[in-house]
């Protein structure tokens, strides 16, 4: 009993935060859908769901997410092979560079793709502007990094000997891959694919900036219904559908992940140079580099274009409010706001994440205890399953009256962002903590170390790198967060993604040029943070 009490004590703060800033807003939003004019009316939800537009939106969300996932997996798996099993000059730099898209702000990616395939862009002749192809490409752009990372990590630590044994039994390289390597990688691939599907299905910024008026996903539809049409009930109904679908997906993912055999013997082969037989990996990696490189290059080039010439005018204009009063504050002001918000969001999600990680990784002594830990683990993963838009919307409708009136609090945006980043933080810290042999702690305790001292001498040494990495991750996520922030940020205190979105929505060449320049600045900031994080070489980074 005492152990469970300690457990609940440690979990109290994160639980309280989760309760007030997550469960309350989300349930408030659900209530909004079911309660019409003060009475319980579930029929209204059904009404919304049978609208032709709703059906179209749901269908588009599903198929674009499937397509985005398929492209990301098909390109990512061979690329993971080349980047994690083959040695060539510049491998680490390439790996780090391909990680950056994952944390690039969605709005920035949207802008970059528009710059590339828009009417005036270098690939404008393809006619992809505003098409579903552009959206799928954008989704793949983000998520190929997730696949490379997750599958690559599994592949890198894959024992080479079963494959060698198969080869010695007469299996050709293709047969070895099909019968030995692929089954061993399947848990990693399935888990990466489901996470990618999740990200694709809840993608907001990309669809909003690339989809135009023709394409809308559930996530953007919720946004449009709330902010433009003020149809709160329809928005709530869609949120509920999304919440259920994603929770179900998360449960399935968890089950699939549990299949992986943690006792696998590890004897990793030293990577060797690519050979002719590696052409599929080389081809895929080339395609990934093109997919990731072209939009970024188009963005940078576009930001340096001034009229018919070149110059830094777009960057100089960042100290202004844009032409025709596009903004209330200069872009530089928004950058400062973004950085300040990110610092707050980072310490919040780190504090919460560390407590959660400690709670969920301690060894359980009884079945009840294990069940409580499992429950907590799942609970804190929930923000992954709830779209940021839903969260922001929930904040708006529930935290607006005493005693929970936070509408004017400057901490509202950081709190929302911290919750969005929380699953990532926990997933980066928990594997490191879980990897510590409990007997090490017991040894320390038997030598007279108290719980705190044990933590400092056993856990902290393996934890500081993942902590720094998680901090960087949370910081990057906060910098780019758009879904929740777009609801919560006050007009006079916008963050960078909000400003960029405003700028591309306003006519005028100067505003568009400023949007490009601001995107480059924001992308560079996140990229630098992520590259520093990558230098820490934390294996569990971005693992789900």
């Amino acid at each position: 009993m005492k152990r469970i009490a300690t457990l609940v004590g440690l979990a109290a703060v994160p639980l309280a935060v989760l309760g007030v800033f997550f469960l309350l807003p989300v349930s408030g939003m659900i209530g909004e859908g079911f309660v019409v004019d003060g009475s319980f009316d579930p029929g209204a939800v059904a009404d919304v769901l049978t609208r032709p537009r709703t059906v179209r939106v749901v269908w588009f969300t599903v198929w674009s997410a499937v397509a985005g996932t398929a492209v990301a997996v098909l390109l990512g798996v061979p690329a993971a092979h080349l980047l994690h099993r083959r040695a060539f000059p510049g491998r680490r730099a390439l790996r780090a560079a391909l990680l950056v898209p994952f944390v690039l702000p969605t709005v920035v990616v949207g802008v970059a793709f528009r710059e590339l395939i828009g009417e005036a862009g270098p690939l404008g002749f393809l006619g992809f502007d505003g098409s579903a192809v552009a959206i799928v490409a954008g989704l793949a752009f983000f998520n190929v990094a997730v696949v490379i990372r997750a599958v690559g990590a599994a592949w890198e630590s894959l024992d080479a000997r079963p494959a060698e044994a198969a080869a010695a039994l007469g299996a050709s390289p293709a047969q070895v891959f099909r019968t030995v390597t692929l089954p061993a990688l399947r848990p990693a691939i399935v888990s990466a694919a489901s996470v990618v599907f999740l990200f694709c299905a809840t993608a907001f910024g990309v669809v909003l900036t690339l989809g135009g008026l023709r394409y809308s996903s559930v996530e953007t539809e919720i946004y449009l219904l709330t902010t433009n049409l003020l149809d709160l009930q329809a928005a709530a109904a869609l949120s509920i559908v999304q919440l259920l679908a994603i929770t179900a997906l998360l449960l399935v993912t968890n089950r699939l992940r549990a299949v992986a055999d943690p006792t696998l013997a590890r004897s990793t082969a030293r990577p060797h140079r690519p050979t002719r037989g590696d052409w599929p990996s080389l081809l895929s990696t080339g395609l990934v580099v093109v997919l990731v490189g072209l939009p970024v290059a188009a963005l940078v080039v576009g930001s340096l274009q001034v009229g018919d010439g070149w110059g830094l005018d777009n960057y100089r204009a960042l100290t202004t409010e844009g032409s025709r009063q596009a903004l209330l504050v200069p872009v530089t002001h928004a950058l400062v706001t973004s950085l300040r918000t990110a610092v707050d969001a980072t310490w919040m999600s780190l504090t919460l994440g560390l407590l959660v990680a400690v709670v969920v990784t301690r060894r359980s002594h009884s079945r009840a205890e294990r069940r409580v830990r499992g429950l907590l683990d799942g609970l804190f993963m929930l923000p992954l399953g709830v779209s940021a838009v839903t969260l922001g919307f929930g904040f708006l409708i529930t935290l607006d009256e005493p005693p929970l009136d936070f509408r004017d609090s400057v901490l509202l945006v950081p709190i929302a962002q911290a919750l969005v980043a929380l699953p990532l933080v926990v997933r980066t810290l928990a594997p490191a903590l879980g990897g510590v042999d409990d007997r090490q702690r017991q040894a320390a305790a038997s030598l007279g170390a108290g719980p705190l001292r044990t933590f400092v001498s056993v856990d902290l040494p393996v934890l500081w790198k993942p902590l720094l990495a998680a901090a960087g991750f949370a910081f990057a996520v906060s910098l780019g967060e758009f879904g929740a922030t777009s609801f919560l940020a006050r007009d006079e205190n916008p963050t960078m993604p909000i400003v960029i979105f405003h700028l591309i929505g306003h006519p005028g060449a100067m505003n568009y040029g400023m949007a490009l320049a601001a995107s480059v600045v924001l992308a560079a900031t996140t990229a630098v943070v992520m590259l520093v994080v990558e230098r820490l070489r934390v294996p569990s980074l971005g693992a789900f």
């Binding site: 044994a165 198969a166 010695a168 039994l169 007469g170 390289p173």
Partner: protein, 330 residues
Amino acid sequence: MLSLQDVSVSYDGVPAVRDASLSLDDGHVLAVLGPSGSGKSTLLRAIAGLEPVAAGRLSWDDADLAGVPTHKRGFALMFQDGQLFGHLTVARNVGYALRLRRTPNAAGRVRELLALVGLEGYEDRLPATLSGGERQRVALARSLAVQPRLLLLDEPLSALDAGLRERLAADLRDILREAGTTALMVTHDQEEAFAVADRLAVMRGGRIVQQGDIAEVWRAPADPETALFLGYAHVLEGDHAHVLTRAAGRPDAAGSVAVRRSALVVADAGPLTGKVVSARVTPVQIRLRVDVDGAGELDAVARLDARPGPGDRVSMVVDASRIAVVPEVH
């Protein structure tokens, strides 16, 4: 017939195997014996085609194997820990190579092989439910399934505990003999080598220092270090060596003399005398350290009823089959 001529293998320019020459006739079992780090596993991997050969020639029946990938060599490789495919049942593991070749009646052959290794009825078990010894048996059956031209064994028994190792070693020898398999096994354990193989090659520092019939190598180690590695307790030189050879009734050796721990036996009126330094009782005999007159401190054994104690003077005979003359290395 496998033959290696001056084969060298390097890792990143650091040679792990240097100028190794070997030959192995069909139907024989060769043990490559060496301490850890001697390059024996690298040699095995090079033969399997898993490591590129830096220099020299590796051939099978005079056909050069350079450029032949692992899966086309027809050499089955059995790892120290079996490396069974964890997602496949025992039957599917054993039948793996048969399925690759679409062999008809694979199920019958799998049953046969499981019977050969003494695991009838294990078809539907998963590797994770097997004991270490059972896993090695399955791995052996899997390797034998396609009747490989050559079976490569990488420390096949060292992951097992002592009693099981002894039993499985005897089984392994019988199974290999029965199947008429040509096999090459690397090991650091002399007992394992002697239990399974009929030919022996000793490796040290990346070189093959001696090879031949196993009893031959055992009887006449090529140099003092090999003698010590093969389990001889001491190597004596000069006058000390002569004292031993004379006592054994052999002509004076030109080189050193390697002496096993049980070569000196306490016996009344033996040609050697000495003072007992220490005595330790074991279940079958008493092991002594004796300061032998003219030869220094050596190991000796006594019958359990002899009861010599430290400080006692004893006389000893030399068992000539337990000493070996070793050529001096200059």
